[in-house]
Symmetry: C2
Subunit: 314 residues, 2 copies
């Protein structure tokens, strides 16, 4: 195992081809003397980013800071890395906006809830990978979601990330003008993940569209928010339309994640577990221990993928 | 001081008029046997919400969990309450989605970054106030922002919360349909806060419109994101248009905060400090200690307001 990891952690990238470098799409960045990644509490003058992050090959992101710390500890064990998991420190400890953990070639970052929160993280993470001169990076969002017609605990690999109108697009406002971006994800990565899921026992997995909303209650047709102006029937009609459009789960970050990775040429996948079946209810009342187990499922899948890629398993 | 606080903390609200109760706008809630406030890790069956929260009169919210803990400790000292500030515990310790601290009649809650993140918190917070049968509650968002034509460190009391097109409205998608909501804030509260600002030395304060965007980089016309497709001139043109429309600062939560409070009949105000003047740059490179001091300024203003309302100062 050691020589394989050493390969991925080396700093000599001369054997890689230029196309696989992480690109930013901003001509202004080159002329900046310093780049402060404010919400990470990192910067190009204060930190040696190539030395700290140059060997990163897998970036895994998820909403909860605690969950992304757990994932870092889990992947440390899975990769058989030396040292104590308790010593894995939050690289962004100087701020409470996001948490970040590095474990060998894997970076684990929290992004909070919703499109704006993950978008700030993505801007700074993509710049980080660029400044660190990372190459051949795969990105995974490992999250939680509401299921549509699926048993709770099902892992959904996203085919298309769609908006509230079931369209595979993301609306970005730039200087007061609306720009539409494609939310295309990497087909190969999704298929490879689906193959991995068949190699793990007791991991119910589906591939389908993921609807990304900007609101957890009204926007997802929940009847239990502080505001609700629709009936149970209208709610179910909307969810059935979503199901007919291929939607199998609902969360709050996938469209901007897919859109930004697509623009920057980064291979990305979304893997979310369903915590409930929205045809059957709105409240998450499953026992805490069961929910914790569900939340580990996307981690198992992505960990399996990473170990295969690193040649640790066949 | 003690008798005044006891008045506000009493559980006998029989002398209040019915109109001042916190209203939810959801007919389904009454028929629910239990309401689990999932992202707070609280519920109507597991917690005695009227006993825990019935005396709340002031709810203060802000993005950062650390900052809202600091605010709780600060207001504890300001109100001269008994006990050690180190004993103020996070009520939502069972989850890392939000942090919540209660100090006498003041509730301090973090909401993360962006409209979706604060909207989940607002739904559950408004339901919490409703279940706890709170009355006469004032809400304050105390946050950070980018200034437009103002010196860094200026406190902006929001007149109108406007969107990226400078309109005082919030677009909410409900079951795939777009609904427009007013972002009207309480005029009286804003005026009372402005009066308070004149009573505090060295607190530069302005009243103006606050623009709420769904993105920190492209959406706010920053040239330093991973993506940027516009020139310095186009950026400045947009910011000047914003200034002409009365915008004095830019942040990422005010429209939905104003809209949801307005629908539920809650008196609300937005008080954000500017960390930089966007006419002069995009990066936040002010020393950490200076930023920390800036971030305390909205807290001083709201604390002064609360102390006046409680009769602790004239």
């Amino acid at each position: 195992m050691a020589p394989i990891l050493l390969n991925t952690m080396g700093t000599d990238h001369s054997d890689y081809i230029e196309e696989e470098v992480v690109h930013v799409k901003n001509p202004h960045l080159d002329s900046m003397e310093e780049d402060i990644l404010y919400h990470f509490d990192l910067g190009t003058k204060t930190h040696n980013l190539p030395e700290m992050f140059g060997d990163i090959k897998f970036v895994c992101v998820g909403g909860s800071a605690n969950r992304m710390r757990s994932f870092a500890q889990f992947i440390h064990q899975e990769l058989g890395l030396p040292g104590d998991v308790a010593d894995i420190m939050d690289i962004c400890a100087g701020t409470d906006r996001y948490s970040m953990y590095k474990v060998g070639p894997v970076l684990s970052i929290s992004h909070g809830m919703g499109v704006p929160s993950i978008s700030i993280m993505l801007h700074e993470m993509i710049k980080l990978l660029h400044h660190a001169r990372c190459r051949d990076v795969n990105l995974f969002r490992i999250g939680t979601s509401g299921g549509v017609g699926l048993a709770p605990g099902t892992v959904v690999i996203t085919d298309k990330a769609v908006d509230s109108f079931f369209q595979p697009q993301f609306e970005q406002v730039v200087l007061g003008k609306v720009i539409i971006r494609s939310t295309e994800l990497d087909k190969g990565l999704a298929e490879e993940l689906l193959q991995c899921s068949t190699e793990i026992p007791n991991l119910p997995t589906a591939i389908g569209n993921t609807m990304c909303t900007h609101d957890f209650y009204e926007g997802q047709g929940r009847l239990d928010g502080a505001l609700c102006s629709f009936s149970t029937e209208e709610k179910l009609e909307y969810l059935h339309k979503a199901y007919e459009a291929g939607v199998r789960n609902i969360e709050m970050e996938s469209t901007v994640f897919a859109a930004m990775c697509h623009v920057c040429g980064l291979k990305a996948a979304v893997v979310c577990v369903t915590l409930l079946n929205r045809f059957e209810g709105d409240q998450i009342n499953t026992p805490h221990e069961v929910l914790l187990e569900y939340q580990q499922r996307p981690q198992w899948l992505v960990s399996h993928f990473i170990k295969k890629r690193l040649g640790l398993i066949q």
